[in-house]
Structures are given as C-alpha cells and as structure tokens.
Symmetry: C2
Subunit: 165 residues, 2 copies
DNA sequence: CATAATGTTCAATTTATACTGAACATATCA
DNA sequence: TGATATGTTCAGTATAAATTGAACATTATG
C-alpha cells in the first residue's frame, strides 16, 4: 500500500475503536485524553509515525501532540526509531506491559508515595509537639497510616513482578 | 472534652494535614477532592460525624457532602453507626485497607475492565469482517490487547490478596 | 549567513468536572 | 395534620485541567 495514501487517509473504524480503547485507559490512569489517542494511534499503526503524522491523523494541535509524546516518552510507553535521511523523530508504541507499568509506577505513582511519606512524617512531628488527652488514639491512627504506606511501598514492586514480561 | 465545643472548633493543624493527605490520595484515585476531605475528617475524628458535622467543619456544600458520603459508602470506605435517640446518620471511617481496596476495585475499576472487554470484542469483530493485507499483523495486536486484558483480570484479585487484611 | 524544518513553551481559551444551593422527597414529631 | 428535621437531586455556576496556536528555540541546509 502506498505510504503517502496510507498516512493521509481518514482513520478507519478499527483504528477509531482501538484509539477509543486507549482514551478510556488514559482516563483510568489519570492521563490526558490526547495521550491515549496518540498511544492508540502508534499502537495500531504498522509503521513509525512522526509528530506531524499524529497531529494530522488525530486532528489535534502541535502543542498537545508535543506534550503527549513527551509524557509517553517519560514512562517508556513509546520509543524513538531512527529513520535514515530524515530529521524528524519517529515513534513506535512500546508493547511490553512490564516496561510500561514499571515506567508508569516510577514516574507517576512513586512521587505521590514519597509525597505521602513526607506528609506522614510531618503529621507525626505535629503530634509529638502536642499535648492532648487523645494523643494515644491519634498515635494509633498515624501508625495505621504508616502501615498503609509501608504496604503500598511493598505491594507496588510485587505488582510489577506479577504483571510479568 | 466538651462535645459541642469540640465539634464547633476550627480544624487544628494536624487534622488539616491528615485531610490534605487524603485529598492527595483521592486525586491519585481519580476521586473528587471533597471525597478525600470527608474521608480524612472521618478518619481523624475521634467520634462519628453526621452530614452536617462534615459540611460545617470542611466548609463545603450540602450537595457535595451528600454526594461524597454516597461515594464513600459505595466502596465501603465508611460505615454508618447508629446513635440512639438521633435521627441523623452518623459515619465512621473504615480502616481495613483490604475492605476498601476490594470495594474500590469492584466499584471503580472492574466496570472499566468490563467495558474494555466489550470494546476488544467489538474490535475483533471489525477485523473479522475486513479484508486487508495486514490482517495478520493487526490480529497479533488484538491478541496482545486480549493478553493484557487477561493479565489485568488476573492481577487485580492478586493485588487484593497481597494487600492482606 | 538566511531560510526552512522541526520541536517546545506558554498565555489565552476551551472543555470537562466538581461544587453549590435551592427545590424536592421522606420521615419524624407535636 | 402541619411543622420540622434530614438527606437527595440536579440545573446552573465555578474551578481545574487540557488544548490551542502563535512565538520562540534549535538545528540543519543551500
């Protein structure tokens, strides 16, 4: 099939459905819609696409496309391929669930976990310098938080293991 | 400590921090801010609170409070307690991570998983009734999607197991 | 060096989502 | 029964987030 025609044609039903699927996934993962669209397009595309390919086929702006690709790169959901004699960057979708999950965990989840750790530390500090009649009860609750935190920290890597290759 | 005074006083630093922590958690889980606030307040409160207690202390609207409590009830993050001689509903925070995670999974995650299953079925249908030169490649990709779906379905219950009691 | 090609950034705008508050439903009480 | 207390619903509004597009970097090319 002619490359130019292929890139130029409107999205057929199946591509639409696949992209829609990834839009929903993006939504669940708290990622912008455009990120789902771009990943879906790259996932179903038979060859690498550049920024403009995505922009045109999805009918979204340059800025959104650039941001979207950046986010996808940030957790390893896409990978750059070099095409000789072309200055543009071309992308393909990474298909290893393991890689993506691990990238997503470390880039999008861990920061929140660490943020939570900090905050719990600060809460403990506030309790320590406080004199109150229900100090013990409060301490129990903070201990509960610490326990959740610990379990979250341990479960995350286990999940990645479970997801396998 | 006097019950009336206690309920009426402004939120002290520690409660603020705890609530802030749950606001962040709610954000990660794609839940409205108010849901995090309400859960946080109930979590740190030493006694059950009714809708109006939450509304007043958090300074949010009746509607938000009602909706938030409904969402928290929907996945078992809070529990109603009966207080004799009072017509109001009183709530306490559920503290079993297991219960909450399982409720959250079945109420907030599984519907998306099922939705995805449906869509993948539809995509397979579209491919079946199509004659294209790259049919095999596309079938491989759909198979990949099915594989992800299957692993997601199997991993979810395992996560719940891991989280333990 | 000037021009063109490519990608990034960010202020302004649009869009999606959550929140508000008044009207409503329901239950209790006098 | 009418008045009061409690909670829900939902149309309108406010808020937060994503998107746009033009200006700006950067790099290549003639």
């Amino acid at each position: 099939m002619n490359q130019v025609l292929k890139k130029g044609r409107v999205l057929p039903d199946m591509e639409r459905e696949v992209i829609e699927l990834f839009i929903r996934m993006a939504d669940v993962l708290n990622l912008p819609r455009s990120v789902g669209e771009i990943y879906g397009l790259l996932f179903i595309s038979s060859d690498p696409l550049c920024l403009d390919d995505c922009r045109i086929r999805l009918n979204i702006s340059k800025g959104s496309t650039s941001q979207g690709l950046k986010i996808l790169r940030s957790f390893g959901a896409i990978r750059t391929v070099y095409i000789p004699g072309d200055r543009k960057d071309y992308y393909v979708a990474e298909t290893s669930l393991r890689k993506m999950a691990s990238g997503f965990a470390s880039e999008q989840i861990l920061p929140h976990v660490h943020n939570g750790e900090d905050r719990i530390g600060r809460i403990q500090g506030l309790l320590d310098q406080q004199e109150s009649d229900d100090k013990e009860t409060l301490q129990e609750k903070i201990d509960l938080l610490k326990n959740w935190q610990k379990r979250a920290g341990k479960t995350l890597p286990l999940i990645l293991k479970l997801i396998g290759s």
